[in-house]
Amino acid sequence: MVDLRRRRGKIVIICLLFCVVVLIVFQIGGGYEGDALHKVGLRPLSPWQRAFHWIVDSVHTAFQNHVLLVNLKEENRHIQEEVRRLKRENAELRESAQTLERLRSLLLLKARVPAAMIAAEVVAYSPSAWFRTIVINKGQRDGVKKGFPVVTLEGVVGKVMRISSSSSVVLLVIDRNSSVDCLVERTRMRGIVEGEGGGRCYLRYVPRTEDIQVGDRIITSGLGGIFPKGLSMGEVVRVEKKEYGLFQEIEVMPSADLSRLEEVMVIVSPAREGEG
């Protein structure tokens, strides 16, 4: 007779594995998107993420503003104190100026793109290397919806993928699952910019006969109904025409520095299905 009590742990594990396989099959098959589970999971975690982001940010700023300066000036206490005070003031002013500059660029972007926008702060990055995502501190409560585009003045960042009441997960353009309909600015040739999971993207489906050069700017085409037309996507950094195949391989460096995101803008416009 099998002692079920002794094997309870193993049975629970097997049940969990079975449930998770079923869940994955449903999600991959398109029967379920997992939104409710994401929402339930993100809600209790986002306050902790924000709190820790605040702590790290404060420590980082304090380290930059004070500790390094103190270590560098040990020769003359008198001059040191004066220099430290001035440096601290300078650092604070510089930090303020940088913040102002970032906010000004967001305002410029707001003026450039004729759509309502919400400014949001990046509070966390994806813990999995397989999904290139960020978490922003604006969610359903602030009017953010699934599919809304996220941009900076430099260019396209991504689009909202999951939402909870107070935070959202944004799929970056460099993620493998991201695809955006774009144009080559110089030739007006259309293509699809797809992420490759690293720091770059590829412009796909451009015929090998097309004249694409390194340095060509890539902009959004406005087709697909998610990203407004004319937003900067990136710059061509490599073009390869193989001996076979219909299309050429074009590597694109995103305009926005996706590893240094602090504030982003969410374009509030009705999301439509069909792209990305």
Partner: protein, 180 residues
């Protein structure tokens, strides 16, 4: 029960800290898989229900925080847990270096499981060469980070004294046979 909750709380804190600190890395660097290191640690330290359950929970939380397919990391982390346990029960690991090597192997298994599932689901369009490069890069990066965690944990021979599991007993017997 309290032990499981405590470990879960510490693990969640570790995961949240990692998600914040990853932001300081340049975009071309892959995010180190902090959960993988914890899973390897659990496979060395805890019995199946506790270690497996915690590995599953952390994988699930990783899925929630990354916004990806729910259950993908939960499944891959469970596979890594079982793989690591299987290896541990057959070989005697006493050094931190062995555990770090285990992180490399675990990373490979984890990556392969994820790739296979994404490939079956038609969610993978990256060329195989790029994918292989990224996988190796990520494993290397996670492996390099692992000493920070693994060096502070007890060795299997220490755990063998507790005699909680077959693997530990096996390792302990083998260690005794070797006169360690």
């Amino acid at each position: 029960m309290f032990k499981a909750l405590g470990l879960f709380a510490v693990g969640m804190l570790w995961l949240i800290v990692a998600t914040t600190l990853v932001g300081f890395l340049p975009a071309w660097l892959p995010a180190p898989d902090v959960v993988l290191i914890v899973v390897i640690l659990f496979s060395f330290q805890y019995p199946l229900p506790l270690g497996g359950g915690l590995s599953f929970s952390f994988g699930l939380m990783q899925d929630v925080l990354s916004g990806g397919v729910i259950g993908l990391n939960a499944l891959s982390k469970m596979v890594v847990f079982f793989f690591s346990r299987w290896i541990r029960q057959r070989f005697y690991f006493s050094t931190v270096a062995s555990k770090i090597a285990m992180v490399f192997f675990g990373g490979m298994v984890d990556g392969l499981v994820v790739i296979v599932i994404l490939f079956i689901g038609g969610m993978l369009h990256t060329p195989a060469v790029v994918l292989a490069r990224q996988l190796l890069f990520q494993i290397l990066f996670t492996g390099l980070l692992s000493p920070l965690v693994l060096v502070i944990t007890p060795t299997v021979s220490d755990l063998g004294e507790r005699g909680t599991e077959d693997g530990f007993r096996y390792g302990h017997k083998k260690a005794r046979a070797r006169g360690i």
